[in-house]
Symmetry: C2
Subunit: 164 residues, 2 copies
DNA sequence: ACAACCAGTTGCATAACAAGAGCAGTCAAG
DNA sequence: CTTGACTGCTCTTGTTATGCAACTGGTTGT
């Protein structure tokens, strides 16, 4: 991986880290689909990533400190990938992209419903979801809110559309 | 340009449109640097894009309806590129990326100051800036606010840092 | 008339990406 | 204790995208 940075502009630097066609999709799957193992990310990917690309991207995301890795105690060969705080804070970027895509592109209904809700929910909903992610990925306990979490609500909405 | 879409997910679709290393930088330059001609985008690019890549990206951005093209009446060979409404609405995406990059990456001070202000300004400032962009790119008049616009304030802040 | 400027195009080398097979270790069932 | 499925990858072999530099055909200002 050749590492020459083109400029110190924050947008450029961000693009150098996650500006390829796969990194953000992997992060999306970790966030919204709770995929945490290599195989899960590989086979349950909506887009069909190939294994060498996945391995490569996970490696660079690890290097950049956007995801972390730990052994899975239930299976010696399984690793479990988690988002770091940096990774979690990419949520607003994904949410804005989802909102824009939902508005202007040819999005399917099942896959668009989460984008719609997340976009309508705005920064407040994002912050709540990020807190949930901090719990599942970083193990940071949070005070329980009443009612189902953002993740659950998104998932439920998705299921409702699929059911139709 | 092979056109097979991988999935109907809004994030994926957005990445297929602007998920390469250059498209968003071109849009950034049009937004924040007010680069409107081919040569301006080519030679005043912070990162040094090459002409064939620029030509190719502008073509696809035109196809996707993110920028538009018009003749420049002052010069028969000059074309002027403008952002469309779709393009302007990519601002929040860029702003979030800028904010994330500013927070976590090794941003230079001059180039980071705008990201900082824009990030601190939040959605309200973005909306105001988008209105300014609608004026310069779409010719939509808006009622004048008192004081300098967002674009001017960002530019002034940048100049102040450079001057030091 | 001439140099500088304009928006690209073309040819070629290299880097990134992608599909699929393969591999060594692990685990649970029979 | 053997078998078959599963684990996280790596290797091989292409294809596609990117990047550099030179070049084209026209326009404009002096």
């Amino acid at each position: 991986m050749t590492e020459q940075q083109r400029s110190g502009c924050p947008i450029n630097l961000t693009l150098e880290v996650v500006g390829d066609k796969w990194s953000l999709l992997i992060i999306r799957d970790m966030m919204f689909g709770n995929r945490r193992h290599f195989r899960e990310l590989l086979t349950r990917s909506e887009e069909g990533i190939s294994s060498n690309i996945l391995a490569d991207r996970l490696k660079t995301l690890l290097d950049r400190g956007i995801v972390s890795w730990a052994e899975d105690p239930s299976h010696k060969q399984k690793g479990i990938y988690s988002l770091t705080e940096q990774g979690i804070e990419l949520l607003p970027v994904l949410a804005q992209m989802a909102g824009w895509g939902f508005k202007y592109l040819d999005v399917t209904e099942e896959l668009g419903i989460r984008a719609k809700l997340l976009s309508e929910g705005g920064p407040k909903m994002w912050a709540e979801f990020m807190d949930e992610l901090r719990e599942t990925h970083l193990g940071i306990k949070r005070r329980r809110k009443s009612g189902p979490g953002v993740g659950e609500r998104l998932q439920a909405a998705y299921q409702r559309v699929v059911a139709r």
